[in-house]
Symmetry: C2
Subunit: 194 residues, 2 copies
DNA sequence: GAGCGAATAGACCGACCGGTCTTATTGTTC
DNA sequence: GAACAATAAGACCGGTCGGTCTATTCGCTC
């Protein structure tokens, strides 16, 4: 039961933070949404900031696992797996409850790069890039480090724009650019005119 | 004098909002930073939210003008002008006072897409894309609409990542991808192998 | 059923929030 | 110098914030 209560708080907090922002979400709103007493929250997490860190850490694990499962569903070829991830971006943006990337939001609301919250968001970005790097290496693509950085840039840019514009076109644009990057990274340089 | 006071408030508010976030910056901190009385702020702007909108509107004008001047400095060829803008991203990220894009931060802190703040941030994104579209059209590049969207995506993604990672590599990655996009958009399709 | 840790409900705290109001002091223009 | 708008300085307001504390109840294990 203890872990279940803790999970309720985490899930409620994540939903409210995503929908309304971190500062704008008061502790009491989380309590009533999770149907939990104040002391339960503070016994489990200690403070609002630590709760935010816990939310980010769990969200990172969940998202990375989700992307890995999408990759697996997209076939055995890591090349196709990368494109599968970018294809899934569109579905994410289409979800009417989509309200952007919680890590981007955390970075925006907590500008001090040394604070635990900003570092948790940074850690997620590192893990995401690492995932792209693994897939790039498996696909035997050229310069997997640079490729992974650029794929991560495309994903971040698309998500950022999708939130601002409420359109799905960023997903398609990012997918198209990812295709171009992968094509170029899998073609011997001497066979490439551009 | 009235406009000068108003400008002091706008400048101070912008700096604090960028450095510490919108919710985290109280009215009184803006007042003491601008050396201005409370009523001066409320007579000029009416409310904190309207002040934020005014800051965003002025920041958008300033940034677009700045990008236009960078483009002009980069030569007369619109192709080079676009690359000039991406080259300038690195300088921005290198600035030790760089703390991300204020419009991305505003979108993150005010998730309701109908509120005036989110709309002001959205308007800036529209204007930025429009600038890329103009330059793309002048350079007689193929499909300037899609190209402009993709260039805007690259710029947003690089800025987002630069803030999270505190590195300048996103600028170089975005510049390289912009080069690739421009090359492809200026090459007849039949002459392109990839 | 006794004992005990976990969870509840909610009063309570000081601090700060955005915003209003009052009073006095400027600086400018006739 | 009179008149007036802009500004200053700061008291003040109700509300909310994150966080603490207490008293009570629940649910599980011997």
């Amino acid at each position: 039961m203890a872990t279940s209560k803790r999970q309720h708080v985490l899930d409620s907090a994540k939903e409210l933070f995503e929908r309304e922002g971190f500062h704008a979400t008061g502790i009491e709103r989380i309590l009533e949404h999770a149907n939990v007493a104040k002391m339960t929250l503070y016994n489990n997490f200690g403070s609002k900031d630590q709760l935010i860190v816990a939310v980010l850490e769990q969200s990172s694990r969940t998202m990375i696992e989700h992307l890995v499962s999408i990759a697996k569903q997209s076939g055995s070829d890591p090349y196709e797996q990368i494109l599968g991830i970018f294809g899934a971006l569109g579905d994410w943006y289409d979800d009417p409850t989509f309200c952007g990337c919680i890590f981007q939001a955390a970075t925006a609301e907590y500008p001090d790069p040394d604070c635990a919250i900003a570092q948790a968001a940074h850690a997620h970005q590192t893990n995401l890039t690492l995932l792209f790097r693994e897939l790039s290496a498996k696909a035997e693509l050229r310069d997997p480090d640079a490729l992974a950085r650029r794929l991560a840039l495309l994903a971040s840019g698309a998500t950022c724009l999708a939130r601002q514009t409420r359109e799905r076109s960023p997903a398609e644009d990012a997918l198209r650019m990812a295709e171009i990057l992968l094509e170029r990274a899998s073609t011997p340089i001497e066979h490439r005119t551009l």
